[in-house]
Symmetry: C2
């Protein structure tokens, strides 16, 4: 049978995955969640028609949203992940031997499906240092604090995550950070949506002294070029060396991922 | 009307472009050539079902196959492009003010279509320093010599370009280069075909003292991560600074494009 899932990257561009079967499907009060088994990319998690992660290339996204901010901090012990319900960011954070990791995911259904069907990614939930909170990250962050690193691993700035891309949220995030704290946030593809990352950069700069955009190759995301932001009141530099195995990140990539093509730089300056 | 061209990146992954119309179609003695007008990517050149170039993102490929080797050479004056029938590599080479540029394209039909319908890319043919030779690059290179830089801008190592990825061709190429000469070659996607670039690297290392793999983001190529090789008997370093406008390449990218993710590095070492 010829069974395909295609994500529309724009109304005129689509990436298709040949599917073996649907593993799970749930409609939560927030979103529509599918888990497929594909031929080439292992398991594929789709939310509202958008590829979230595949077991073949998730290592890139999860390493790159986690290791740059974690290696910027001299000694990260208390970590907050907003979103990240699949557990992949928490898995990477654990490699830094933190004291506690808080995952604040708004949608219980995402966690349920990932715990049941994506153990490769979600096994971090079995670690006693990982604390799961089913809650809106915006509310959690107003109540809790003293974090060394905050990682915003959310869906795109449309839908339930829209509030996580605004100045008032960044203000709350800064209050929840220790003085030398660092944050990272995924901010879309500079190729199709340069306005997204440049807006994130602008808003972060209102709140934090140092902001850096960095990019990574993610084959299953639109255009394959994905942007992240780091922000801190400390200069953004690599303060520790890699001391565990990785598949994408390394000490050179910390800096080379900040080396942006001119067409991307242009949007940073505008 | 819903009219799509899809490239099969693998039998199980495809990238689809919504098409406005077919601009041209020709079958040469070497290959099947289509030129489409798309909604999102401008004009799209397809050879044997494989995306060659689009007017929206061709700048990335052409800048990145040309500028790294050209800026490695202290004073590149006589340049050879093998393949590159669309004229895009020649256009970028001209920005370095060379004395002569030879484009050796095996398929006259490709040049014809590009000259007629892709002036944005092929206008370099109007420059008197650009000399077009309709010939097999393998034969041309045995006859001609004294090049400062040779750029192998061919299709993939299946089909008519297969010979351009072998040691004996690299030997001929070395003979056709001056002592301080530099070459570059496109060598596929490390994500889907790591064996291609690692094979290129191995073969080049039999012939040249210094070989470097570097990568660039190309949204319309499989996986979005594309590899190139540079080789020379001189150490590969940036010997000149960028002195004209670019959209992708810049002085930092010369080095950051050589900073490879661990899963790619692994294939360089094996």
């Amino acid at each position: 049978m010829d069974y395909w899932f295609s994500e529309m990257h724009t109304p005129n561009i689509k990436l298709g995955f040949r599917i073996k079967r649907e593993i799970a499907h749930a409609t939560s009060k927030f979103q529509d969640i599918h888990l497929f088994e594909t031929y080439d990319y292992g398991k594929l998690l789709v939310i509202d028609g958008t590829v979230q992660t595949t077991t073949r290339d998730e290592f890139i996204y999860h390493e790159m949203i986690v290791h740059p901010p974690m290696f910027t901090h001299p000694n990260p012990k208390k970590i907050l992940i907003i979103g990240g319900g699949d557990g992949g960011a928490a898995r990477e954070v654990l490699k830094h031997e933190p004291r506690e990791v808080h995952v604040v995911e708004i949608d219980e259904k995402v966690v349920e499906i990932c715990k049941k069907y994506l153990p490769e990614i979600s096994s971090s939930y079995n670690d006693p240092r990982v604390h799961l909170h089913i809650e809106n990250g915006k509310e959690f962050i107003r109540r809790e604090g003293n974090f060394d690193v905050i990682i915003v691993d959310s869906t795109d700035p449309v839908g339930p995550a829209a509030d996580l891309f605004r100045e008032d949220f960044y203000e709350d995030m800064k209050k929840a950070l220790k003085k030398d704290g660092v944050i990272s946030q995924q901010c879309g593809t500079p190729f199709y949506h340069p306005e997204e990352f440049s807006q994130v950069k602008k808003e972060l700069e209102k709140v934090f002294e140092y902001v850096k955009i960095y990019i990574a190759y993610i084959p299953t995301y639109p255009s394959g070029m994905w942007a992240f932001a780091m922000a801190s009141d400390m200069p953004i530099e690599r303060r520790r060396k890699l001391n565990f195995a990785t598949k994408y990140y390394n000490d050179e990539i910390y800096y080379s991922s900040m080396s942006l093509p001119n067409f991307v730089k242009k949007y940073c300056e505008d």
